[in-house]
């Protein structure tokens, strides 16, 4: 078990520090400037909550925020349900017909360019004559995010000691009971982390939502995007800071969950 101590050179430290600064500095600047009293985004006019006030009086923005939060909550819940089932099938189903197609369908959306997923789903909805709005966006987001849930839960399931389930079955449990009583409690942290990830991904998406939504039901990212195209606005800084705060909260909960999850076995997915 003698572990050789790897030396950390100055080069290693510098690249690490610079890399992290590069990742975080822009966000920190954005947050600071959201408290800027000045209308000019680049001139510092003292601390103020003016732009937050502005946001909470902007009805169109608030409606978009509400739409995003509800799409996020519903699609994350659906995605967690479907993604967990898919993960169970992949991690415990052994070999079955169509397995390669199944895993292919689940892994490719992770990297598929969003313009393709968005366009193809829109064409499906048009062909089905579905009214575009809340539900079409929700279905689209569920399809994308359930794949992320699958990866998270599957890696947890694969790392789990299977002899626990087998012992439960040797002691007379049927498979479903063994799963519900033994496996499920052990993968709950991964499921929670999966839900959080699905929710934040849904809250983030512009492209797929633009394709699949209908007139009059814009999500928050769609509104932010159209404002950003016109230039920087202090109110957007405030909205972005609120979203960052929400996501930070989610990360804290999710990392707590994954800490529980990592207490036994290593999680392979770095998500």
């Amino acid at each position: 078990m003698a572990r050789t101590v790897t030396t950390l050179t100055r080069f290693n430290m510098t690249s690490l520090a610079l890399g992290l600064a590069f990742l975080y500095l822009p966000i920190v600047i954005l947050v600071i400037y959201s408290f800027n009293a000045s209308r000019l985004v680049t001139v510092w006019g003292g601390w103020s909550l003016r732009w937050y006030h502005e946001f909470f009086n902007d009805r169109a923005m608030l409606e978009a925020a509400w739409m995003s939060l509800s799409v996020g909550a519903v699609s994350a819940t659906l995605a967690t349900l479907l993604g967990t089932l898919a993960a169970v099938g992949l991690a415990r189903g052994e070999r079955f017909r169509g397995r390669a197609l199944f895993s292919g369908m689940l892994y490719s959306p992770l990297v598929m360019p969003e313009v393709i997923s968005g366009l193809s789903l829109l064409l499906l909805f048009v062909a089905l004559n579905a009214e575009r709005g809340f539900w079409t966006v929700t279905i689209a987001h569920t399809t994308l995010t359930m794949c992320f849930v699958t990866v998270v839960v599957q890696s947890r399931l694969s790392a789990l000691d299977r002899s626990l389930e087998e012992a439960a079955m040797d002691l007379g449990c049927d498979p479903v009971r063994a799963f519900l009583l033994v496996t499920l409690p052990l993968i709950v942290p991964a499921i929670v982390a999966g839900w959080m990830l699905a929710f934040t991904l849904s809250l983030d998406d512009v492209v797929i939502a633009s394709f699949t939504t209908g007139p009059g039901s814009a999500t928050l990212p769609i509104r932010i995007y159209s404002e950003v195209r016109l230039g920087v606005k202090p109110e957007i800084n405030a909205i972005c800071t609120l979203v960052i705060a929400l996501i930070a909260l989610i990360i804290v909960v999710a990392s707590f969950a994954s800490k529980l999850s990592n207490a036994r076995g290593e999680s392979a997915a770095p998500l």
């Binding site: 990742l23 089932l85 360019p113 393709i116 699958t150 087998e166 633009s210 990212p221």
Partner: protein, 304 residues
């Protein structure tokens, strides 16, 4: 072993619902993209004349097949705009992936050599931006890069430049945005392979007389190639179809294929051509997608 087999049956049944969902909302829609890409453009709602209708029976279907139109694909090949945006997407994706590799590798390497306790913290710090909305992160850069933004203010104050530099709407801004957004996707797979590497190998190389640099080249780098491959694919594939970053940060005189598709769809309302562009983009991505799928499956399955 038998318990395993008994468990497998209900597990397979669990997969039925997500299977059907993915077939309906992932696989079938591609069929529609293919179908629309072969149909004629029309000024109508929806703006195309359908080529075939499955409700009309087999004879109608056969007749429809006879008039399938490859006009949209011919247009893609003839019009310079499409070929250029195709090439540009490839160039941008290859260049960005190389930059990401150059920047991401030292960071991942630094992480892998941290004391065990700090590795988890560093990993967390790299993952957090992945969770943060990428639209917001691009917007943060617009804040910094704009005409009277922080970067120009700093450069002016330090007397490095005498007049504000135009950063926005340039390729450098776009590359910056892409590298910024995709860096975690490059670092994490690299870190995953680098952290699993046995330090004794490097020591052995050193004992046998290799300089640290040589040991890195001959031992560490070759062993980290799976991570390099995974990271490169994880970045390359989505960057090819990237839309938001070039749209917000790059100039509008040359477009990437994702932007062209968006333009055809939302501005020109030419759904058939947009669909043809999507099919063409997809064909381009099939080889890297297959490779990625194989890598992903190997990684998840080696884990059990």
């Amino acid at each position: 072993m038998s318990a395993r087999r008994i468990f497998a049956r209900p597990a397979r049944h669990a997969a039925i619902a997500p299977y059907l969902w993915m077939v309906l909302f992932f696989l079938v829609p591609f069929g529609f993209v293919l179908k629309i890409s072969l149909s004629q453009t029309a000024i109508a709602q929806p703006p195309y004349t359908p080529v075939f209708d499955f409700t009309e029976g087999r004879t109608a279907l056969a007749a429809a097949f006879a008039q399938l139109s490859f006009d949209n694909f011919r247009l893609l090949l003839q019009d310079n705009l499409y070929i250029l945006s195709y090439l540009r997407s490839l160039v941008v994706a290859v260049t960005s992936t190389l930059i990401l590799l150059l920047i991401g590798y030292p960071i991942a390497y630094g992480m892998a050599r941290l004391p065990q306790r700090w590795q988890a913290v560093a990993m967390m710090l790299v993952i957090v931006p992945f969770w943060t909305s990428f639209l917001i992160r691009i917007y943060a850069w617009i804040n910094i890069l704009q005409h009277d933004g922080l970067l120009n203010q700093m450069l002016l104050a330090l007397h490095i430049v005498s007049a504000p530099v135009v950063w926005l709407s340039t390729d450098s801004a776009m590359y910056l945005g892409i590298v910024y957004s995709y860096l975690p996707f490059m670092i994490l797979p690299l870190y995953a392979t680098l952290s699993k590497m046995d330090a004794a190998l490097l020591e052995a190389a050193g004992d046998l007389g290799a300089s640290p640099l040589k040991a890195f080249w001959l031992v560490t780098f070759p062993l980290s190639l799976p991570g390099v491959g995974a990271g490169a694919l994880l970045c390359f594939i989505p960057i090819v179809g990237e839309f938001v970053i070039p749209d917000l940060l790059a100039g509008s005189n040359s477009l990437m294929i994702g932007q062209t598709l968006w333009l055809e769809f939302f501005t020109n309302k030419d759904w058939p051509v947009a669909s043809a562009a999507a099919v063409a983009l997809l064909l381009l991505l099939v080889p890297p997608l297959v490779l990625y799928d194989r890598l992903q499956r190997r990684q998840l399955e080696s884990n059990r």
